[in-house]
């Protein structure tokens, strides 16, 4: 009997812990975050959570967690937390990427700010950026569970408040999506130059392998943004109830339409609802954007949330392991590592410490080689490389198989012509 009572108490305590409301709410929050991020993953994009405007191509983050632990985290939560921003590089190869299209002319050092804050304009110019599209995201809310923090867009809890329900299902459509990025080859050359700086190397050396712990840098090569989110919510509850969701709102659905013309009554009802969400205008200015009710009935409501400037919802990146002395290993794509389709980013090898390239000269090598026979031209090329923050020596560029793209850039940007030159085409 003495042994039975403590055992019974232990079982009771464990049961209370497992089925506590706090745990259920936490689980619901995690599930909603994961569902949102699954939409990104289905589009081969890593999820940004919470949403943020301040994530850019060229951002380099420190990753303190081992790849196996990150995979576990990614599988459980659907997203990877950003640890620490080490630096923000401004990619130099946008010119080759966009060739003056998408309002990038003469803005190579300013992207994406020429879309965010165009000069002499009162609104942003993200409509000019490359467009993207995403599938819609569905969600469900069960009674007794909260969405206060987990839903990335505020239109959802407001819709739930309007319906006065906490049992509902709905859909989120990511609208006005755009994207921009840069090729890994040119960006990684910039990363190499940055990592070779003495101050950077000293910083990275602090994160050299410590026993089994490996640290990484994560380099963002592309980001996806949205300027508008459309939300529809349908009431699943047989009767209304209190809801603890998002910013408290006073709006309530009118009991019935006013007599008279149906279209006019409906329009009046929408205006009433929008006005009830704000005292002076039909838009609701909330942190993160303005919300407008597009359609409403007794059991459903559709809202659109427009962000004052688009925010980043997803990204593509690659990782490099930090080795002894702050030397970086070979890059591996982050998403493929998380999906288990490539091995974790390896530690640097001897060939990473000493610069080694495989022979792969081509027609451009001969053109550049003949051109730099003149010392004046060699100096010009070296100055161009310095301006691009490329530290690789000219002999390696001439002969390395991996520098074929760089040789083509040299041919094109220095107008050297030859059979592969594109200048004047």
């Amino acid at each position: 009997m003495r042994r039975t009572i403590p055992l019974a108490l232990a079982v009771l305590f464990a049961g209370c812990s497992l089925f506590s409301p706090k745990k259920a709410v936490t689980q619901q929050l995690e599930n909603v975050a994961k569902d949102w991020c699954l939409t990104m993953r289905a589009s081969q994009v890593l999820c940004v959570y919470p949403l943020s405007e301040d994530v850019q191509t060229g951002d380099i983050y420190l990753v303190n967690t081992s790849i196996p632990n990150q995979i576990k985290q990614y599988t459980q939560n659907g997203f990877l937390p950003f640890d620490m921003l080490l630096t923000r590089l401004q990619p130099v190869n946008y010119r080759a990427m966009y060739a003056n299209a998408y309002a990038t002319q003469d803005q190579w050092g300013n992207i994406p700010h020429q879309w965010q804050f165009p000069p002499n304009a009162t609104t942003n110019n993200w409509a000019a950026a490359p467009h993207a599209a995403f599938p819609s995201y569905t969600f469900g809310v069960q009674q007794g569970q909260s969405l206060k923090l987990a839903v990335p867009v505020q239109a959802v809890p407001i819709g739930l408040s309007l319906l006065n329900t906490n049992e509902a299902h709905g859909a989120i459509e990511i609208s006005d999506a755009s994207t921009y990025g840069v090729d890994q080859l040119s960006l990684d050359q910039q990363v190499e130059s940055w990592a070779a700086c003495p101050t950077t190397r000293a910083l990275l050396a602090r994160y050299a392998p410590d026993g089994p712990n490996t640290h990484y840098i994560r380099v963002i090569t592309r980001v996806y943004l949205t300027g508008k989110v459309n939300v529809s919510v349908t009431n699943d509850a047989s009767r209304g109830g209190g809801v603890d969701a998002g910013v408290a709102q006073n709006a309530q659905l009118p009991a019935s339409a006013t007599p008279g013309d149906v279209a006019t009554s409906y329009s009046n009802m929408l205006t009433t609802l929008n006005n009830s969400l704000t005292s002076s205008t039909a838009d609701v200015s909330k942190p993160g954007g303005s919300i407008r009710i597009a359609a409403v009935s007794s059991r459903s409501v559709s809202l659109s949330q427009t962000f004052s400037r688009p925010i980043v919802i997803g990204y593509i990146a690659y990782d490099r392991a930090i080795g002894s002395g702050g030397v970086l290993g070979q890059p591996r794509p982050t998403l493929q590592q998380m999906e288990g389709t490539v091995d974790p980013a390896p530690q640097p090898t001897q060939s990473d410490v000493s610069q080694s390239v495989k022979f792969g000269a081509d027609a451009n090598s001969s053109i550049i080689r003949a051109w730099v026979k003149d010392d004046v031209n060699r100096t010009s090329l070296q100055q161009w490389l310095d301006a691009q923050k490329i530290t690789t020596s000219i002999p390696l560029i001439l002969n390395g198989d991996e520098f074929a793209s760089l040789r083509q850039r040299i041919i094109d940007e220095l107008n050297l012509g030859g059979p592969c030159g594109t200048a004047g085409h």
């Binding site: 000493s354 080694s356 390239v357 022979f359 080689r369 060699r378 002999p395 001439l398 390395g400």
Partner: protein, 43 residues
């Protein structure tokens, strides 16, 4: 930092050596690989 170019065909070795010399290298090493190709390096 040491630099090297590996897997060079025999007929291209002279050109690669000349590239390093033209770029100011004082010493250039040539090594024959097991597969018959060559590695050119500078310390």
């Amino acid at each position: 930092m040491a630099q090297q170019v590996t897997d060079i065909p025999k007929e291209e070795v002279g050109t690669v050596v000349q590239d390093f010399v033209d770029n100011g290298a004082d010493k250039v090493f040539v090594e024959r690989q097991a597969d018959g190709k060559y590695t050119v390096s500078i310390p």
